[in-house]
C-alpha cells in the first residue's frame, strides 16, 4: 500500500501550467504522480509485456496536447482517457479490436520465463482479475497491483469515491468467486505446475466467457 497522499487538484494544475511552459521537470512530476495509474489502466487491457512501453508512449502523446487540456485540474481523468484510447489503438494496430483477454494467444498467459510457483500463481491471478468486467478490473488492478488506495484512485481517475468503493467491493467479490472456483482461494497454489494449471484455468474461464 502506498504512503503517498492523494494529490490535490491545485498541485496538478500548477504542474500542468508549468509543463505547458516547457518545464520538463514539471511534466516529470506529473509522470511520477500518474505513471502507476496509467500503468494499471493499461495492464487491465493489454499484455503485461507491452505495458511499460505503452506507459511511456501515453505520456509522450499527452505532452504536446497539454495545451488542449481545458481544465488543468482534471489532468488525471484526461490522461486516463488518453490511456484507454491508447489501449484501443493497440488492438486496432494488431487487428484485434476486442477485450484484452480475447487477444491473448492460447499459450500466452502472463507466465514469466522463470516459471517459479509464485510467478505462475501471480500470472494466474492476474488472468482472473482481467476476466472481470472492465469497470471492476481496472479499479481492482489499481488497488491490488499498483498499490493505490481507494481515495487515491478516485482523485486520480476522476471517479466518485462511491463508485470506486462499489467497484472494489464487487470486483473483489467476483474475483473471490473465480478464485474459489479454481481452487485458488484457500492457500493458493504451492507448486509451479499447479500455478500453470491455474493460469490455464483462468484462460479457459476467459474463453468460456467470450464464447457466444
Amino acid at each position: 500500500m502506498t504512503d503517498a497522499p492523494a494529490p490535490r487538484p491545485a498541485d496538478d494544475s500548477s504542474l500542468v501550467l508549468a509543463a505547458r511552459q516547457g518545464d520538463r521537470a514539471a511534466f516529470g512530476g506529473l509522470y511520477a504522480r500518474y505513471a502507476r495509474m496509467v500503468h494499471g489502466i493499461l495492464l487491465a487491457r493489454v499484455p503485461a509485456s507491452d505495458v511499460d512501453d505503452l506507459v511511456q508512449d501515453v505520456f509522450l502523446r499527452a505532452l504536446p496536447r497539454l495545451r488542449d487540456l481545458r481544465d488543468v485540474a482534471r489532468f488525471g481523468p484526461w490522461i486516463a482517457a488518453i490511456t484507454r484510447n491508447r489501449a484501443n489503438d493497440y488492438y486496432r494496430q494488431t487487428r484485434a479490436v476486442a477485450a484484452v483477454t480475447e487477444s491473448l494467444p492460447e499459450d500466452e498467459a502472463e507466465l514469466p520465463a522463470s516459471n517459479t510457483a509464485p510467478d505462475a500463481e501471480a500470472a494466474a491471478i492476474l488472468t482472473f482479475v482481467r476476466s472481470l468486467p472492465e469497470t471492476y478490473r481496472e479499479t481492482l488492478i489499481l488497488r491490488l497491483v499498483e498499490g493505490m488506495t481507494g481515495p487515491e484512485i478516485a482523485v486520480r481517475t476522476g471517479l466518485t469515491p462511491g463508485s470506486v468503493r462499489v467497484n472494489l467491493h464487487r470486483g473483489m467479490q467476483q474475483l473471490r468467486e473465480k478464485l474459489n472456483q479454481a481452487a485458488l482461494a484457500s492457500g493458493l497454489v504451492a507448486d509451479s505446475s499447479s500455478g500453470r494449471n491455474a493460469a490455464a484455468q483462468g484462460k479457459n474461464s476467459l474463453r468460456r466467457r467470450n464464447e457466444p
Binding site: A98, T149, L168
Partner: protein, 354 residues
C-alpha cells in the same frame, strides 16, 4: 470483516487481500521517467531591470531595443494573421477514392481538407475518409456515407449522420461527442463504436469498448461493449442486447420493439424474451422495465430479480413506479458502468437546450 482494508488499507488487514497484493506486486509499475522532450513555449519577456543592469554599451542596447521592437511588431502581426490551423472545423483525409466536402472532391495529391461547421462530407461507393475530431478522437467514414458537422469545440462536438456507416474512437470526457441520426442521438460515454444508418433513417449502433447512450425524446438506451441497439424513425432506440444472445431472443426483441402491431402480439414477444433471457441478458431486461405497460412490469421485475437480485435500496414497489434512483442503483449492479455519467450528461443536455 469489513471493506476498510480493501478501501484504504486501514482497519484489520484482510489476509486474502494481502496475499493477492504480494503476489501481484511483481506486475507493479517500476519504470523510471523517460527523458521528455521540451514543449515549445512562448518565450518569457525579458526583464527591463536585467537589461539596464547589464554591461552592454548604449549602442548595443539601442540596437537590441530596435530588434526587440521589430520582433514584437512581427509577433503582433503574425498573431493577427489568419491561420489555416485555427480555422474552425475538423481535419479530414481521404483513405480511398475521392470523397467530397460540399462540392469539393479531395483525394490523391489533395488528400486532406477541412470539414467546417455546417459542411457536409459525402463518400461514394469507392471512397472512404478519416476525420480527426478536434483532439478527442477519430471517426472513420465508410463508403456511401453522408454526414454533417453540426458543432465543434468547447466540449461540444456534434455530427449528424444522414446515412452510411461511421466508426468512432473517442477519448473525450463522457458526453462531449454526440452523433445525431434521423431516429436517435448517440452520446459517447468514453468508447469505441460503429453506427450505421440506412436510407430509411433506421440505425444500428454496436459498441466495441466503453459504452454509448442512445436517446430520442424520453426514450433512451445504454449500450455497453459487446452490445447492439437498433433504432427506427419516429420510434427511437430499441432495447439493447448483447450480440451473443440467441437468434430467437433477438427476433422476439426486434418484434417487440418495432414489429408488433397489437398489444397482444407485443405481450407474447415479451413473454418469449423473458423466458429466453440468460443472466447476461439482464442488460436487456433492465431496459424493458421502462418500456412495458404497468400491467407487465411485475413480470419483468421478477425475471430481472432472478437474473440479478436487486441491491439494497431497491424495492419492487419503487421499480414498479419507475423510481429513477432505484433504476439507476439496479443498473449499477450490472457492473457495466455508472449511471451517474449518463444522468450528468442528461442534465447538461437539458440545460443547454433550455
Amino acid at each position: 470483516m469489513n471493506d476498510d482494508y480493501l478501501w484504504d488499507g486501514s482497519g484489520e488487514p484482510d489476509p486474502e487481500i494481502q496475499k493477492l497484493e504480494n503476489r501481484l506486486a511483481k506486475f507493479r509499475h517500476q519504470g523510471e521517467a523517460p527523458e521528455f522532450p521540451r514543449i515549445s513555449a512562448a518565450r518569457q519577456p525579458r526583464s527591463w531591470r536585467r537589461l539596464v543592469s547589464s554591461n552592454w554599451s548604449f549602442g548595443l542596447a539601442a540596437a537590441t531595443a530596435t530588434v526587440l521592437f521589430m520582433a514584437a511588431f512581427g509577433i503582433l502581426w503574425w498573431s493577427q494573421k489568419p491561420s489555416t490551423n485555427s480555422e474552425p472545423g475538423w481535419d479530414v483525409e481521404s483513405v480511398a477514392g475521392t470523397p467530397k466536402v460540399e462540392s469539393s472532391a479531395f483525394g490523391g495529391n489533395a488528400g486532406a481538407t477541412k470539414l467546417g461547421i455546417g459542411q457536409t462530407l459525402v463518400t461514394d461507393s469507392h471512397s472512404k475518409a478519416n476525420i480527426s475530431v478536434a483532439d478527442i478522437g477519430t471517426v472513420s467514414v465508410e463508403t456511401n456515407t453522408r454526414l454533417r458537422l453540426v458543432a465543434g469545440g468547447h466540449g461540444h462536438n456534434r455530427l449528424a449522420l444522414d446515412r452510411g456507416t461511421i466508426h468512432a474512437y473517442i477519448w473525450a470526457l463522457p458526453g462531449e461527442f454526440t452523433v445525431d441520426t434521423p431516429s436517435a442521438i448517440a452520446v459517447d460515454l468514453g468508447c469505441s463504436y460503429t453506427l450505421e444508418v440506412d436510407d430509411s433513417g433506421a440505425g444500428l449502433l454496436r459498441t466495441k469498448l466503453g459504452w454509448v447512450g442512445f436517446k430520442l425524446d424520453g426514450h433512451e438506451a445504454f449500450i455497453p461493449a459487446g452490445a447492439v441497439c437498433a433504432t427506427r424513425p419516429k420510434v427511437g432506440p430499441g432495447t439493447p442486447y448483447f450480440d451473443d444472445a440467441s437468434a430467437s431472443f433477438r427476433a422476439a426483441l426486434s418484434k417487440f420493439d418495432f414489429g408488433a402491431s397489437t398489444p397482444e402480439e407485443r405481450s407474447a414477444e415479451l413473454s418469449r424474451i423473458l423466458a429466453e433471457s440468460r443472466q447476461r441478458d439482464a442488460l436487456t431486461v433492465w431496459h424493458l422495465l421502462a418500456r412495458v405497460d404497468e400491467s407487465e412490469r411485475g413480470s419483468v421485475y421478477d425475471r430481472l430479480a432472478t437474473l440479478l437480485p436487486p441491491p439494497s435500496g431497491v424495492s419492487r414497489d419503487g421499480i414498479l413506479r419507475l423510481d429513477q434512483k432505484m433504476l439507476d442503483l439496479w443498473w449499477n449492479q450490472l457492473g457495466l458502468g455508472d449511471a451517474s455519467l449518463w444522468r450528468t450528461w442528461e442534465r447538461s443536455w437539458s440545460e443547454a437546450k433550455s
